[in-house]
């Protein structure tokens, strides 16, 4: 008999082991829901699975009576758009500032303290300021996401650039490279996979800021819907929405991981943990 740390489950068995906890949760939920509904058929806290299907069917496949839109899809598109623009803009800013900060000491001396200071401001605390300055439209929501995650991304990128061994930078110079050439051929390509990795890490925060902004001032979006139906205790809408958001978050993360594996195989091969 091998020691426990050396025993590996076979692949199908690993799948099974992974699924069991989800299955148990589901059973527990159905049990609790049935118990409550048996006591009070109008209970709203733990609706039966059928109610979820009904609610989602209404939101996803019937046009809304008020606007004629398919509410569920409209919410999804709006939220993903805000998230995409917010995270995309943040990543671009982080890449530029992180790389320039990391490679050019004068810029770093100039900007690093400011970026550190900004990163310490709690973004939610300045949300009212954003609403006052940028209005209640799309812009303030995107800016909130950007303010929330950009400082972290910049600092992470700067750190990654500084971690490039000095031998490489010296080597490039002896091969005749100037500062610009070192940035485009040595630094940028090496921090790209690291940028994707830190974007993946910051996605949780990005979702948080998105839902917070939508909850406070919006007319559509996944976060907006959840907080809207809260007034009617509509767990039959809230729970599927939460599940959907989780699924979307997983899908985005998965897509970024695959993209990175595909574009930067050298990175993932040498840092198995960094995948």
């Amino acid at each position: 008999m091998k020691k426990l740390i050396n025993q590996q489950p076979t692949k199908p068995f690993r799948w099974l082991l992974g699924i069991i906890p989800f299955f148990i949760l589901l059973i527990l939920y159905i049990g609790a829901s049935n118990a409550r509904l048996a006591e009070n058929p109008n209970d709203k806290l733990l609706p039966a699975l059928g109610s979820f299907v009904e609610a989602m069917d209404r939101l996803a496949f019937e046009p809304s009576k008020r606007s004629g839109e398919y509410v569920f899809w409209q919410d999804t598109v709006s939220s993903l758009e805000r998230l995409g623009i917010g995270v995309g803009v943040s990543a671009l800013i982080a890449l530029i500032f992180g790389v320039v900060n990391g490679t050019i000491p004068y810029v770093r001396a100039n900007l690093s303290p400011l970026i550190t200071a900004i990163s310490l401001v709690p973004p939610m605390a300045i949300l009212p300021v954003l609403f006052i300055v940028f209005g209640l439209g799309e812009l303030s929501k995107i800016v909130l996401i950007a303010i929330g995650i950009t400082p972290f991304l910049i600092r992470d990128m700067q750190q990654r650039v500084l971690e490039i061994p000095s031998e490489q930078l010296i080597k490039a110079q002896t091969l005749g490279a100037n500062t610009w050439q070192i940035i485009v051929r040595v630094v940028l390509p090496q921090v790209m996979p690291r940028l994707i990795a830190s974007v993946r890490l910051s996605l949780g925060a990005a979702w948080l800021f998105l839902i917070a902004a939508e909850a406070i001032a919006s007319t559509d979006g996944l976060g907006y819907r959840i907080f809207l139906v809260r007034r009617y205790l509509s767990m039959d809408v809230i729970l599927p929405y939460v599940l959907w958001i989780t699924l979307l978050a997983f899908a985005v993360d998965f897509a970024l991981r695959k993209l990175s594996l595909w574009l930067y195989p050298w990175f993932h091969d040498q840092t198995p943990e960094g995948a």
Binding site: Q173, T174, L175, Q181, R185
Partner: protein, 269 residues
């Protein structure tokens, strides 16, 4: 005036004197091999020639001008540790020097310019025996292969001064002999001036035109950092007599015993 002049150069890190009173001149085309005990300051000396470390005192001039205090294309280097680019394949690593040279903005070549650069790189890769691995990334290569890649990468630039920091340490004897031929060949063909650190005395005698030994000629047992190493032997190789080489061997072994370090790999007679 000589090509390279080293005038009263010192290097100190805090209280520790690493090198002291280094005075020497080097002619164009000299092939200088450097030996010395581990930690005596050989790499530090090379870094001063490279321009990444400045001397604490004294001055180094190249072609009658003070040495540029930053690395440039005039001086090529192969580091003790691997210095190839992990995000580029073998071929890309070697072509890079030409791309830097011919495409100042994009740093990328296209069409016939690219084809020409690739052909040149392939010849160099062939010379270091990496042809079967041109499309591999450095992490897919063994240590010795990475080192050969670093050598090809530096040599394609044909720098006027080539600095080699134990470049062949990780290579097996067969490939080592091939690399010796390659370096000698390029040295003769392009009139390079080469500084090479090695722990292998036989290699030092065989390759160089001059052999330098770095050693401390004064030692204060109470303060090991008080005195730095100097060039204690500077001899044309070729005219070397057995007595001198035995003396060098002895002084190196002495040093190693003092530092309580494993004996040098290359001092077998």
């Amino acid at each position: 005036m000589s090509y390279i002049n080293i005038k009263n150069v010192w290097k100190e890190y805090g209280d520790q004197v690493v090198l002291e009173r280094i005075n020497n001149t080097v002619e164009k085309g000299d092939f200088i091999t450097i030996v010395g005990a581990s930690g005596c300051g050989k790499t530090t000396f090379l870094k001063m020639l490279l321009g990444t470390e400045g001397p604490s005192r004294g001055i180094i001039t190249v072609a009658n001008e003070p040495l540029h205090a930053e690395p440039d294309a005039q001086r090529g280097i192969v580091f003790q540790r691997y210095s190839v680019f992990p995000h580029m394949t073998v071929l890309q690593n070697v072509v890079l020097a030409r791309e830097f040279e011919k495409s100042r903005f994009l740093s990328r070549l296209f069409g016939s310019a690219k084809k020409q650069a690739v052909e040149e790189a392939l010849t160099m890769i062939e010379a270091v025996g990496l042809t079967p691995a041109i499309n591999k990334y450095p992490h897919e290569l063994s240590g010795g292969m990475q080192q050969r890649l670093a050598i090809a990468q530096a040599l394609i630039k044909k720098p006027r001064i080539l600095l080699l920091d134990e470049p062949f340490g990780a290579l097996d004897p067969g490939i080592r002999a091939d690399m010796h031929q390659l370096v000698l060949d390029l040295w003769r063909r392009y009139k390079l001036t080469i500084f090479m650190i090695t722990h292998d005395l036989k290699e030092a005698f065989y390759l160089g035109t001059r052999l330098w030994v770095f050693d401390k000629d004064r030692i204060d047992p109470q303060a090991p950092g008080a005195f730095g190493a100097r060039i204690t032997y500077d001899m044309p190789v070729g005219s070397v007599d057995e007595k001198a080489s035995a003396k060098i061997r002895e002084s190196l072994q002495q040093e190693d015993a003092d530092l309580d370090e494993p004996a040098m790999s290359g001092v077998t007679p």
